[in-house]
């Protein structure tokens, strides 16, 4: 089965549409969403209703910190993120807000665990940015394969049967065989706000039969997404960073 996994869409309609279309062309039969549907971007309502619709049709989705902040004003964020969240609260209808509030923190599917950040404490929203972080997350679960987002930069970690860790920056389009007998943690790049210097939207395709993971990039109309952020009067840095992928 081919699964498309998306993280950190951040209300970027142009990026999300491009990824969905590309994944469909690749033959994805299931979608998985790793949280942060809102925040930063200018199209929260369209994004959340699209995800709701796909979940209705069998997709899986977990909660991210920005989603959590919609119904929880005590969630701590940086100033720009806070401004956008306050604006987003005024954009989403009751059904959408309820959908975000009811999302699970983790989701288990066969040998895979879906979570927004570090799986050892999903509600703390810790980043996985090193082999040490990855080890902590892996040790806390029984799942052979963990997929998470939150960091906005792609990375792949693996732990051998003897507990040795390896970290790796994946190459776009190059399928990686997730060897059984070791454990894997894939940190996805962001759909809606990539920060690895490449402005193209990032997601992964997972072939469960062949146990192969491929990091994909979808180019999209970045100018349009940036223009919409400016038009809504949101902080202009959020528009500028999309153009450079930072």
């Amino acid at each position: 089965m081919l699964i498309a996994v998306f993280a950190d869409i951040h209300a970027n309609r142009q990026a999300f549409s491009a990824c969905l279309a590309q994944a469909r062309d690749f033959g994805a039969v299931r979608n998985v969403f790793l949280g942060d549907y809102v925040g930063y971007g200018a199209d929260p309502e369209w994004t959340v209703t699209t995800v709701m619709d796909l979940v209705e049709k069998g997709a899986m989705a977990v909660r991210g910190n920005h989603d959590n902040a919609i119904g929880n004003s005590r969630e701590r964020m940086n100033v720009e993120a806070q401004i956008v969240i306050e604006w987003t609260r005024g954009e989403l209808g009751a059904a959408e807000r309820r959908f975000l509030e009811q999302l699970p923190f983790t989701c288990r599917d066969d040998d895979r665990l879906y979570v927004h950040g570090d799986a050892s404490s999903p509600e703390s929203w810790r980043y996985v940015t090193s082999v040490g972080d990855a080890a902590r997350s892996m040790i806390a679960t029984l799942a052979p394969i963990t997929l998470c987002g939150h960091v906005h930069r792609p990375a792949l970690y693996t732990m051998s049967a003897t507990g040795k860790m390896t970290g790796f920056t994946p190459v776009t389009g190059s399928a990686i065989h997730l060897l059984p007998g070791r454990r894997w943690l894939a940190v996805l790049g962001a759909v809606g706000q990539p920060r690895d210097g490449n402005p193209a939207a990032c997601y992964v395709m997972l072939d469960t039969k062949r146990r192969e993971l491929t990091y994909c990039r979808a180019p999209y109309d970045v100018e349009e997404a940036a223009a919409r952020i400016r038009n809504k009067g949101l902080p202009s840095w959020l528009a500028e960073r999309l153009l450079v992928g930072k």
């Binding site: 693996t158 390896t166 065989h177």
Partner: protein, 470 residues
Amino acid sequence: MVKPSLKPGEMIDGFRLEQRVHQGGMAALWRVSRAGMTMPMLMKVPIIAEGADPAAIVGFEMEQMILPRLSGVHVPKFVAAGDFEVQPYIVMERVPGETLLPRLPELPLPYAQVADLGLKIADALDDLHRQHVIHLDVKPSNIMFRPSGDAVFIDFGLSHHDQLPDLMQEEFRLPFGTAPYMSPEQLLGIRSDPRSDLFALGVLLYFFSTGVRPFGESETMRGMRRRLWRDPVPPRQLKPDYPHWLQEIVLRCIEIDPAWRYPSAAQLAFELSHPGQVKLTKRSERLNRDPLATVLRRRFNKGITRSITSVPTSKHISAAPIVAVAVDLDGSTLLNDALRVTAERILATLPSARLACVNVLKLGRITLDFTLDEEGHNKQIDRLVALRHWAEPLKLDNHRLTAHVLEAVDPANAIIEFAQANHIDHIVIGARQNSLLRNLLGSVSAKVAAEAPCTVTVVRPARTGETSQS
């Protein structure tokens, strides 16, 4: 779970174990067969027992990831793999023949034979590097030859793939490899430089041509680290008849700093196949090792080891292409000038690129050709001189420039074959302007552009007033 021992006649996933052909410390090799398959096959089964070397498992995992992604004549064809959870194995093509290991008692081999081995291995390395893999354990026991003469690498347990996680990197803090062949940068823990394979090949060529290992056989860290500052005895000191060009090539391969070696396996192969055009530097003349003062400076100046940086394999190769320019010495000056401008543009951006200037000496289909013309000049030499004269304004170092006169009935075929044999990355060729000649002979550039195995740039002189039409 893994069964304690396998026996002949046993079946694993449809493969029948026929005979155990090798039992090593890390894996056993079985000859296997399968209904409906005629290709001779080998099954590699790692030893996973209590107290087994963890490197065996990780090496096997790396091979399981890398081998299925490789193709071509220089690797055994991948057939199937089994998971660790049931019975780990890899089934691959059984390459007929022996490795280079049984040839050690014959050493030293004649120089021409060593150069031929080197050329074949460098060709195979070029192919491997282009598939993103650095072997990192090039040594006689890991090299075989097909009946066609093509070299084949076996055992990718220590290899690095620049698009896959390097499981070896983090697993072992100590360097892994085979002591006499391990490059200085490998000793420092760097596993991502394709020029490490050129170093190992240089060691092999030194050993096969002199019978002596340039860096000894010490397996202690202290003994191995000596190669970070101590240069080996020049082959000419061991064998006074050692050819200068071969010493130049061998010593350049085993330079301490990777940046001083050949920039790519293709460029090394190119030198090995054109010994007459190897630029002979000081290296080729050396009879003694570096004086103590130089060695001590290297020993305590970390400059060289600091400059070793990590760049992806694909970048190394794309930065060091071999560009061939087909120059028609009888053609128009305008066109030849345009060719030079194009070549200059390509070379300006790539300081490791090299240029092969090619001219085809056309032979008649029926008439007997003589290499001497009526005045007794040697046509070959005249043309080589003319080619170098054409290239002179480019001001290229001799390292980066060679000239070749090909004798052929069909110029297009000759250029295509030259490109194939020499791993040319880019051909620059002029379009024949005289339409009458083109009508009679067909267009050489069109055929080259259509059939060459690489990028082809067809050059036309800038349009001038008289040729432009409405």
